[in-house]
C-alpha cells in the first residue's frame, strides 16, 4: 500500500472515529455532554427530564389502604387536582415552592356518601393517587356518585398536552386542532374495569362530563345529579375478585390515568370476606395489600413528564413521531421510573409469614414480568403463588418460581414469572416464612414494547419495582391458607364452586357441551407512517385498529360511509357497531395480531376464558404471511390516509393494498371459509402449529388477555353471569340482573392506553 493511501485511510479512520465519539457524547445514557440533549422544552411548560436512574430507590414506605378502604354501598368519588410526594423527599425538599409540596396529580377522593346530596366541592382529605379502594359485597349493589371537581385550569393541563387531532371527547367542539393550547375543561368518565354492569353505568367513552357541566352524547346518570357529576350503579353479582376503576374518556384516557385517576375496587363474598376470619383462610387485614403498578417520567422539578414535544429527540420515548398528523401523541408511553401505589420504588416491611397482594398493572403501555430476588445475594427469592385472575379465584394456586427468563421470549408459552400486561390483575400470595432478615426485590425483565423491544439493560432502573423487607417480628402463628399445600381454592366446603369451564385449559379446546353460536375472526392492525415527509417518521404508528376499523365505524373519506351492514348506536353517539352478539350466546373471538407487539385486548361487561393461541406462518422477516393475503382482498379506492407530504388527506390505494381504517376487506357479516364473521379471509390456511393452551395462571376468568403477535388468540365468551352452568343459557336469554342491550354500549379495545385513545377501540352491544 502506498504511503499516501495508508495516510488517507488513517485520516478517514480518525475522522470517522471522531464522528463516533461525538455520537457517543450525544447518547443520553452514556455520553458526557448530558446537558446538550437534556436542555429541551416540552410544548407548553419547560421541563428537563429527571433521569430515572438518578432517583434513589427504596426510600419510601409503600402506601397501603389497610384499614382505610371504603365499604359503603353508597360511595362518593370526587376528582381533584392536588400535590403528592410521589418521589423521595430528597427530590422535593430542595425545590422551591410550589414544587416542594410534591408532584401535581389528579386523584379520586373516595368516601362513603349519600348520593342525593350535592355539597359544595371541597378538597377531600382522602384524595390520593391511587384513590382509596372501594370494597363491595357480592349481591349488594354499590351506587357511586362521580364528581368532576378538577379545576377549570388545572396545572397538569400545562404538562399533559391534549392532542386534539385524535378522535377525542372535544367538549368545546373545536374539531381537529394542531396546537397545544387547549383551555377548556377536562372531560372525565369512570369505568369499573371488569365490572358486570349495565352500559349506562359502564363509563362509556362518550359518556364524559366536565367540571362545568358539559356532557358527551353517551352521558347518563342513574338519577338526576349535579351537572358535573354522574351516578352509576354496580350490581356486584359477579364473583369475588380484584377490579379497578379508572378514567375512560374518549381520546384522553391515557392522560387522565397518567394524571392519577385510578383506584381499586374489590368485590367480596361470604368466602372471601377480607376479614381474618375468612373461610378461605386467605391472608387478610394487614396482610392483604393492593399493589398498583405503573411507570412514570418526571422532570427536575419533580413533576410528571409526558412526552409531547417535538423538541424531545431522545430519552425514553422520543417526540411524537408523526407531527403532521398527531403532533402530541406518542404510540406508547414508557417511563423510566416505576411507581407502586403512588410512590417510586417503595419498600414494605413484612413479617416472615404469608401475605396476599392484589395487583394491577396500571401502566399506559409497559408490560411487567416479575419475580423476587434476594437483594443481597441476587439469588432467586421465594415463589409467587397466583391464586386469582381478573375475574376471580383460580381453582388451585399456580406456582410462579420467578426464574430468570431467556431474552426476548416473545411467545405465549408458560413463563415462570408473574407476567402482567396493562390492566391485567393478579391475586397472589407470597410466603415470607424462612426469609427473616432478608430484603427481597420485586424485579421486572419485560422488554419495552413487548416483545419487539430490546431487553432491558442491566442497569435499567425499571428492572426493579419495590422491596419487601422481612424485618418485622412474627406477631402470631401463621395459620392462613398455604398455597404450597396443594389444596384447592374452589369447590370445597365454604368455597366458591369450581370455575364453570367454557374451555378445557389443559388442551386448549372448548369444554364439553360448549358450542359457539358465532365465531368472529378479527385482525389487529397498525397503520404505520409510509413516509418521513414533513417531519413524520416512516414506520412509526399513526394509529392502531381493531379489525382495521375506526372507533366510530366510519370509513375515513369517500363519503365517510359506515362499515356495510353495521348498526348505529342507540344513544346518538354516531357510532356504527359490527359486533352484535346475542345476550346469552357463546362466541369464540379470534384475534390475529398482524402488528409486531402484543396487545392486551379487553372486553367490557363479561369475563371470558382464554381458549388458546395458535401460531400463523411467518415470512423470513417475521411478518405473518396472512398479511399479504389480507392485503390482496382490499378493493382499492380513494380514502383519507397519509399523503405524500405527510399530512392527512385523500390517498388513492391500488387494488390489493391495505386501506387503513377501511374496515375488513370483505363483508363483515358474510361468513368466510372458516365460517367466521369479521370480513376477513379465513385464518385456518395460515395456521402453522398446534394451539397452545392458556398458561396455568391464565386458566381462570379474564377480562383482558395478551394477544400475541404472529398468533391467532382465541377467547371463549359468553354473555351471561359467570356461574351459569354450561347449557344453562340460550341465545336471546338474559340472565343478568339488568338489560345489557340498552344504553350506549360496551367496548372491545386494546388496554395500551395510547392505543385505545387513538382508534384501537370498538363499541359493541349485545342484542336481544
Amino acid at each position: 500500500m502506498k504511503a499516501s493511501t495508508r495516510r488517507l485511510f488513517l485520516q478517514l479512520g480518525a475522522l470517522a472515529g471522531a464522528g463516533a465519539a461525538i455520537r457517543w457524547q450525544l447518547d443520553p445514557t452514556g455520553g458526557l455532554l448530558f446537558e446538550v440533549n437534556r436542555a429541551f422544552a416540552s410544548v407548553q411548560t419547560p421541563q428537563t427530564p429527571l433521569p430515572g436512574s438518578s432517583i434513589p430507590q427504596f426510600m419510601q414506605p409503600l402506601t397501603t389502604f389497610v384499614g382505610r378502604r371504603v365499604s359503603s354501598s353508597s360511595v362518593l368519588v370526587r376528582m381533584f387536582e392536588f400535590q403528592q410526594r410521589i418521589l423521595p423527599d430528597s427530590i422535593y425538599n430542595p425545590l422551591p415552592a410550589p414544587f416542594n409540596a410534591g408532584s401535581y396529580a389528579w386523584g379520586y377522593a373516595v368516601s362513603g356518601n349519600d348520593p342525593t346530596t350535592t355539597a359544595a366541592p371541597t378538597r377531600a382529605p382522602q384524595t390520593s393517587f391511587p384513590g382509596i379502594t372501594v370494597e363491595a359485597q357480592k349481591g349488594t349493589p354499590t351506587t357511586v356518585q362521580y364528581v368532576n371537581d378538577l379545576p377549570q385550569a388545572p396545572v397538569l393541563r400545562k404538562y399533559l398536552t391534549i392532542d386534539r387531532t385524535i378522535h377525542w371527547a372535544d367538549p368545546l367542539k373545536q374539531g381537529h386542532v394542531f396546537t397545544a393550547d387547549y383551555t377548556g375543561p377536562i372531560p372525565t368518565v369512570v369505568h369499573l374495569h371488569g365490572g358486570e354492569d349495565q352500559s349506562t353505568s359502564d363509563g362509556a367513552p362518550e359518556a364524559w362530563f366536565t367540571n362545568n357541566g358539559l356532557h358527551g352524547p353517551g352521558y347518563f346518570s342513574l338519577t338526576p345529579t349535579a351537572s358535573n357529576a354522574a351516578i352509576y350503579q354496580y350490581p356486584n353479582n359477579q364473583q369475588a375478585t380484584t377490579l379497578w376503576f379508572h378514567d375512560h374518556s374518549l381520546g384522553i384516557t391515557r392522560i387522565n390515568i397518567f394524571g392519577g385517576l385510578a383506584a381499586f375496587y374489590f368485590i367480596r363474598d361470604q368466602f372471601d370476606t377480607g376479614l381474618t376470619t375468612n373461610p378461605l383462610r386467605l391472608p387478610a387485614g394487614a396482610q392483604e395489600i393492593e399493589l398498583m403498578l405503573m411507570d412514570r417520567q418526571f422532570d427536575t422539578n419533580g413533576q410528571l413528564l409526558f412526552p409531547d414535544s417535538a423538541a424531545n429527540p431522545s430519552l425514553v420515548d422520543g417526540p411524537p413521531s408523526n407531527p403532521k398528523i398527531h403532533p402530541f401523541w406518542i404510540p406508547e408511553f414508557f417511563g423510566d421510573a416505576n411507581v407502586v401505589n403512588g410512590r417510586t420504588w417503595p419498600f414494605l416491611n413484612v413479617e416472615p409469614r404469608r401475605y396476599r397482594f392484589r395487583i394491577v398493572n396500571a401502566a399506559n403501555a409497559r408490560f411487567y414480568r416479575m419475580g423476587l430476588v434476594d437483594a443481597s445475594s441476587g439469588a432467586v427469592g421465594p415463589p409467587i403463588w397466583q391464586i386469582g385472575t381478573d375475574g376471580g379465584l383460580l381453582d388451585t394456586p399456580v406456582k410462579l418460581a420467578g426464574l430468570p427468563e431467556p431474552l426476548n421470549p416473545g411467545d405465549p408459552h408458560p413463563t415462570t414469572r408473574l407476567f402482567l400486561a396493562p390492566s391485567e390483575r393478579a391475586d397472589i400470595i407470597i410466603d415470607f416464612a424462612g426469609q427473616a432478615g432478608k430484603t427481597l426485590t420485586l424485579t421486572n425483565d419485560s422488554q419495552v414494547p413487548f416483545p419487539s423491544g430490546s431487553a432491558l439493560a442491566a442497569n435499567d432502573p425499571t428492572r426493579s419495582l419495590m422491596q419487601f423487607r422481612v424485618n418485622l417480628p412474627l406477631s402470631s402463628a401463621d395459620t392462613t391458607f398455604d398455597p404450597a399445600s396443594g389444596q384447592p381454592l374452589r369447590g370445597g366446603a365454604n368455597q366458591e364452586p369450581v370455575i364453570v369451564r367454557l374451555v378445557n385449559p389443559s388442551n386448549g379446546t372448548l369444554a364439553p357441551g360448549v358450542t359457539p353460536n358465532v365465531t368472529r375472526q378479527l385482525v389487529l392492525f397498525e397503520f404505520e407512517s409510509p413516509t418521513s415527509a414533513g417531519g413524520n417518521t416512516a414506520g412509526t404508528p399513526v394509529e392502531d385498529l381493531v379489525n382495521n376499523t375506526k372507533w366510530n365505524g366510519l370509513r375515513d373519506g369517500g363519503g365517510f360511509p359506515p362499515i356495510p351492514g353495521s348498526t348505529q348506536d342507540q344513544s346518538g353517539q354516531g357510532l356504527w357497531l359490527t359486533e352484535l352478539p346475542r345476550v346469552g350466546a357463546t362466541e369464540v373471538w379470534e384475534f390475529l395480531n398482524l402488528t409486531v407487539d402484543a396487545h392486551p385486548i379487553h372486553i367490557h361487561l363479561i369475563q371470558f376464558q382464554l381458549l388458546n393461541r395458535q401460531p400463523v406462518a411467518l415470512d423470513p422477516k417475521g411478518n405473518p404471511t396472512y398479511t399479504k393475503a389480507w392485503a390482496g382482498a382490499f378493493p382499492g379506492g380513494t380514502f383519507n390516509g397519509e399523503t405524500a407530504d405527510g399530512t392527512w388527506g385523500p390517498v388513492t390505494y391500488k387494488k390489493g393494498e391495505i386501506i387503513p381504517g377501511y374496515g375488513p376487506p370483505n363483508n363483515y357479516f358474510t361468513p368466510n371459509a372458516d365460517g367466521a364473521l369479521g370480513g376477513n379471509p379465513a385464518f385456518s390456511p395460515f395456521l402453522s402449529g398446534p394451539p397452545i393452551p392458556p398458561n396455568p395462571n391464565e386458566a381462570g376468568w379474564k377480562d383482558v388477555a395478551k394477544v400475541f403477535p404472529g398468533f391467532v388468540n382465541r377467547y371463549a365468551i359468553r354473555w351471561a353471569p359467570q356461574a351459569t352452568a354450561v347449557g344453562g343459557v340460550q341465545p336471546g336469554q338474559n340472565l343478568y340482573s339488568f338489560d345489557p342491550t340498552k344504553g350506549p354500549g360496551y367496548l372491545v379495545h386494546c388496554h395500551i392506553l395510547d392505543h385505545e385513545d387513538n382508534e384501537m377501540m370498538r363499541p359493541y352491544i349485545p342484542v336481544p
Binding site: K2, S4, T5, L8, Q11, L12, L15, A16, G19, A20, I22, R23, W24, L26, D27, P28, G31, V36, N37, F40, S309, A310, A311, P313, S314, L315, V316, D317, G318, P319, S321, P323, I330, P331, P449, S452, G453, F525, E526, E528, S532, G535, T537, A538, G539, T540, P541, L594, V596, D597, D619, P620, N623, T627, K628, A631, G632, G656, E657, I658
Partner: protein, 191 residues
Amino acid sequence: VGVQAAGFGASAALRVDVLRLALVVVFPVIGLEQALHTNPVVLLALPLYEALHWVSDALLALPLGAAAVWAGGRLAVRFGLGGSTSDVLARAFITALLFAVLLVPGAALHEAADRLTHSHALLAIHTHTPNSDATSEPLALAGLAVHALGDGLEGQAVGLPLIFAALLWGAREQRNRAGTREWGATSRREV
C-alpha cells in the same frame, strides 16, 4: 490514479485530493439530508444538539464520500474524462451518483448508530418494520433500498453542484500549476 500529464490540457486526467473533496461534499449533503428529515421545531429548539448530530453523521459518512470520490476518479480515467467542462460535469455526475448509491447501506448504518446511541429513542422504541402490504418480501426490501436511494439522490441536490464546482476549481488550479511546473508525485492521495 490519474494519468500523469506533462502539460495539463482539456484531455488530460484531472487529479483531485480525495479527502478534501470528500469533506467538501459530505458535510453539505448530510446537512441537507438532516434538514429535510428533521422536524424544523427540533432544529430550532436544539441547535447545538442538531449541529453536533450533523457533524457526527458527516464524519461517519466521510469514508463513503471518500469512496465515491475515489471510485469516481477511477471511472473518469476508465472513460477517458479529462479537464474539460463537459468532462468535469460527467465526472461530477458519476461521483454524485456513486455517493448516493453508497448512502443506501449508509442509511442502515446510520439507523444502527442511532439505535446504539439512543439518538432517536423513538426509532428504537416506536419504529416498526413497515408492513409488507401487497408487496412480496424481496420487493419490500427493494422498496426500502429505493427509498434510501431516493434520499441519497435528494442529497445530491447540493452534492452535485459542489462536486462540479470543486472539480472545476481543481481543473483550473491544475491547469495553472501545469503552466508553472511539471506534475510530479504528490504527497496526497489523488485520483
